[in-house]
């Protein structure tokens, strides 16, 4: 049985959602370290005015790759790691709906990430920022392969995300255990569902933006060429129609995590469950109507600006409601300050600040001053590094015992949290100040006469504390995975279904699929006993699980290969890759995942 096999090939061919989840997390963590190093290089360069630690060109590559990596190779896949490991367990499923497709998503993501980063080997790392505004990205103004790596790498990652989104929507809609009604689902599963809907709808828009750019660059099309009737601002629209929903793709999973963690450590059910769910859906939905608030300076005219001011401000309301509900959940509780809970409280404190500076930019005239300055850099790091990443780390400390059967080291965890908290604030709070005093974003250096050396120096010091925290985190993970204290099935005494099975879970998850009768099944004594009677037993006959398969990695390789061949600029080159992909798809289609070996 493959699932009992631990060799390297068993990981490469696995279709087990839990193993794929672990691989997603480890890969994202590696990219997190890479992006962190890029951030440190940026901060060293900005240590003092007129510095020349690195060249302007290297600096452009650093901030472009830092942004692209953090968003597409760290924050998104780390959330997907939890989708993978946790969601099937939370809804009482044995795997995701399409296990091989799930493996394909992972390998496509991995190859996309490697493709993007391989640009460093060619000295051609992307250098036009993570938003890559046209027409700077045209072959005229960016003749090298830098932009090619970026746009092709991103489209590979987009394919992976769309497949993942389809998979999780289907899983959550169709594979819930009996009695797991939609309004009984844990909040993390809910937010995964909303996020997945955004993924499958927002990424095609990015795909089109990238395709148009690819046709401009490789086949001489005119989509973003102003002198031929094209419009560089079309890029901005398409990019942000994807880009703002993307912000919610990043934050909603974290909102889901803390909505599960806070009740556990407050010993109270989530306050206003339906409201928190609806607020999440509202945010996901309204997120589609606010994209031009990234374009207040573009010059769309007062009517468009006024509309997007209004729509953006409306989105603040459901967000505020969520924060109120989380605090109300803690109110009257018995709060245990585990590291996971500290990260939740940290998220509440920091995300609130980031959200409020967001309200400042939502006011278009104020944004005319703050847009593209370090004030905005501070804002979105409060939201992403403070909000998104803290939520994900809360999830890490919370679910680690489920994944490995061992606790994360709480003492190291506290050190990790406090260095994170201090380092984070010291890095990003001063950026509000440097931004207010006139430091634009994406600047390699700044004039001494601007008098912003002090906040920049503080930021750089903070960044090193922040980096230290990341190292402590990596060390804690490794140490705890090897020698952490053993944890039982439900070490936190939590309420949801994933805690009803052994830690780590058997490869089939549930010996028998339990029936759910409430929102907090394990907090109701009678229901808990009923469920654990089927979930903790050792089955006489192990449930049949799909076979492992080589097809996902072979097909994912084909996708990356095809995209790589596009870069040759020969129209027939990618056709070779496509033929390979076609053969893989056929073999995939006729592979029986349940075929008996030797039968």
């Amino acid at each position: 049985m493959s699932a009992h096999n631990n060799g390297i090939w068993s990981w490469i061919t696995t279709v087990d959602h839990k193993r794929i989840g672990v691989m997603y997390f480890v890969t994202a963590l590696v990219f997190f370290v890479i992006a962190g190093v890029e951030a440190l290089v940026i901060r060293i360069q900005l240590w003092r005015p007129e510095n020349d630690f690195i060249s302007a060109e290297t600096y452009s590559q650093m901030f472009t790759m830092h942004g692209t990596t953090m968003i597409f190779l760290v924050a998104m896949p780390m959330a997907v790691a939890f989708f993978n490991f946790i969601v099937p367990l939370q809804i009482g499923a044995r795997d995701v709906a399409f296990p091989r497709l799930n493996a394909l998503s992972y390998w496509t993501f991995l190859f996309g990430g490697i493709f993007l980063n391989s640009s460093f080997l060619f000295g051609a790392a992307p250098n036009t920022s993570w938003v890559a505004y046209a027409n700077l990205t045209s072959s005229q103004f960016s003749p090298g392969h830098n932009v090619d790596f970026w746009l092709l790498g991103l489209s590979i990652l987009g394919i992976s995300s769309i497949m993942g989104g389809v998979n999780f929507i289907t899983t959550i809609i169709n594979l819930r255990a009996p009695g797991m009604k939609l309004m009984r689902m844990p909040l993390f599963t809910w937010m995964t569902l909303v996020t997945s809907f955004i993924l499958v709808t927002a990424l095609p828009v990015l795909a089109v933006a990238l395709i148009l750019l690819a046709f401009d660059r490789f086949f001489g099309a005119n989509f973003y060429q102003p002198m031929a009737g094209g419009d560089p601002i079309l890029w901005q629209h398409l990019f942000w129609i994807f880009g703002h929903p993307e912000v919610y793709i990043l934050i909603l999973p974290s909102f889901g995590v803390i909505s599960d963690v806070i009740p556990t450590f407050s010993r109270k059910p989530l306050f206003g469950y339906p409201i928190v769910v609806y607020a999440g859906i509202m945010i996901g939905f309204l997120g589609w109507g606010v994209w031009s608030h990234h374009m207040f300076t573009t010059g769309l005219g007062p009517i468009a600006d006024a509309f997007f001011v209004a729509s953006t401000m409306i989105i603040a309301i459901p967000t505020g409601v969520k924060i109120c509900n989380w605090i109300a959940t803690m109110w009257g509780g018995q709060i245990r300050f585990t590291t996971a809970m500290l990260y939740c409280i940290g998220l509440l404190a920091i995300f609130t600040l980031g959200g409020l500076s967001g309200i400042m930019h939502a006011s278009a005239p104020i944004d005319l001053q703050q847009h593209d300055t370090h004030f905005v850099v501070a804002h979105f790091h409060y939201v992403v590094a403070g909000g998104v990443m803290m939520g994900l780390f809360a999830g890490l400390y919370y679910w680690f015992p489920k994944v490995t059967g061992r606790f994360m080291d709480e003492r190291l965890g506290k050190i990790n949290f406090w260095t994170y908290f201090v380092g984070f604030n010291l890095t990003f709070f001063p950026m509000h100040i440097s931004g207010i005093y006139g430091m634009p974003r994406r600047t390699w250096t700044y004039a001494a006469e601007l008098n912003i050396a002090l906040p920049n120096m503080l930021s750089t010091i903070g960044a090193f504390i922040f980096a230290l925290s990341a190292l402590i985190l990596v060390y804690t993970i490794i140490k705890s995975a090897i020698s952490g204290e053993p944890a039982g099935p439900n070490p936190w005494n939590a309420a949801t279904l994933e805690w009803s099975i052994p830690s780590p879970p058997p490869h089939y998850n549930f010996a028998e699929i339990p029936t759910v009768r409430s929102r907090e099944p394990l907090w109701r004594e009678e229901e808990r006993r009923e469920i654990e009677a089927v979930t903790l037993k050792v089955p006489d006959v192990e449930p049949v699980m799909p076979n492992s398969s080589y097809m996902p990695i072979l097909l994912a390789f084909g996708v990356a290969l095809t995209w790589g061949l596009v870069m040759t600029g020969k129209w027939w080159a990618p056709v070779i890759g496509l033929s390979y992909v076609g053969v893989c798809i056929l073999m995939w289609a006729f592979e029986d995942p349940f075929a008996r070996k030797g039968a």
């Binding site: 060109e57 505004y133 278009a364 104020i366 593209d372 931004g435 207010i436």
Partner: protein
Amino acid sequence: MPTTEARPRFFHLTALLLGLMLLGACQGDYPQSSIDPRTDFAETIHSLYVQVTVWTLAILVVVWGVLAYVVIRFRENPNRPAPKQTHGHLGLEIAWTIVPALIVVAIAIPTIRAVFETQTELEGDPLIVEIIGHRYWWEVRYPESGVTTANEIHLPAGRPVTLQMNSADVVHSFWVPQLGGKRDVNPLRRVGPEGEVRGYTYLYFTVREPGVFLGQCAEFCGEGHSLMRMRVVAESESDFNAWLADWQEPSATATAPPPPQDTTIQTPAEDPLVTLGRQTLFTSTCVACHAIQGAPAVGVLGPNLTRIGGRMTIGAGLLENTPENLFRWIKDPASIKPGVQMPGAQEGGGGFPPTNLTDDQIRAIAAYLSSLR
């Protein structure tokens, strides 16, 4: 340990107060400050900024206050009974939906008013100035008087101004914080069979008092983006008009002085270095891109050098304008400004071959350019 849990919020508050003190103190020392309004436009933004900051800080204090209270008050305590299993409260939910909604409305109304106010051309005979963004410098044109200059924008104080902006290459953004918000500078598009031109963007403001204000490009435009700086020189209307009148005439040393008509009058002889520089410049490749009014230099790709000697800085706000800096700049501009579209003496740049000028020639050119006042 309740106090440990409360510390982050105190840390935050102190940091915030520290920040505010920094913001409040010594305004004059921050020449690119976005909270030091010097025009009606900047003032509109600033009053809105203050208003929204007060609202958001108030919300922040309340949320952090409640959070701190909850964290301290409801920490685990075996002496308290198990928590009551509440599931929600409709009244509370309605309350914390309506209150933020009201605050949002309170912010949105003045915001939308300001959106329309700041995008309307000002009355009272505005001066139209055309700004053209180039990688990595700013071209400035005064269409009414035909004057073209670069990187130093002279404006009359007290008179409304309309900046009409476009880009010669990629998207830039014009930002002089003390004069108001930024506005993207987009490449012009040709659209439709008639080739209709679209894509101008505008800024409208009146500078209140004379002064020098710093600004720079705020939309990433390539390697030299961080060094695409500029200055705005606001002068009294009479000074501005005098400046403009001067600029409509060629500089006295633009061309060789005519042979003296009346030999009895002693005219001081021209510095031979200037004479040499003039001759060298006009026979070099420099004039393919640069123009000097009244002289046989009519290139349009690079900054117009008419009266460059009178500018405060060279290299788009980068270096103090001295003959030594001019020398360094002409010899190897790429070492000062990465990505610059100008060739140096030994190395090409911007797709152009090296100028192959000797140090002596460059020194002479620098002397000539410095004389153009």
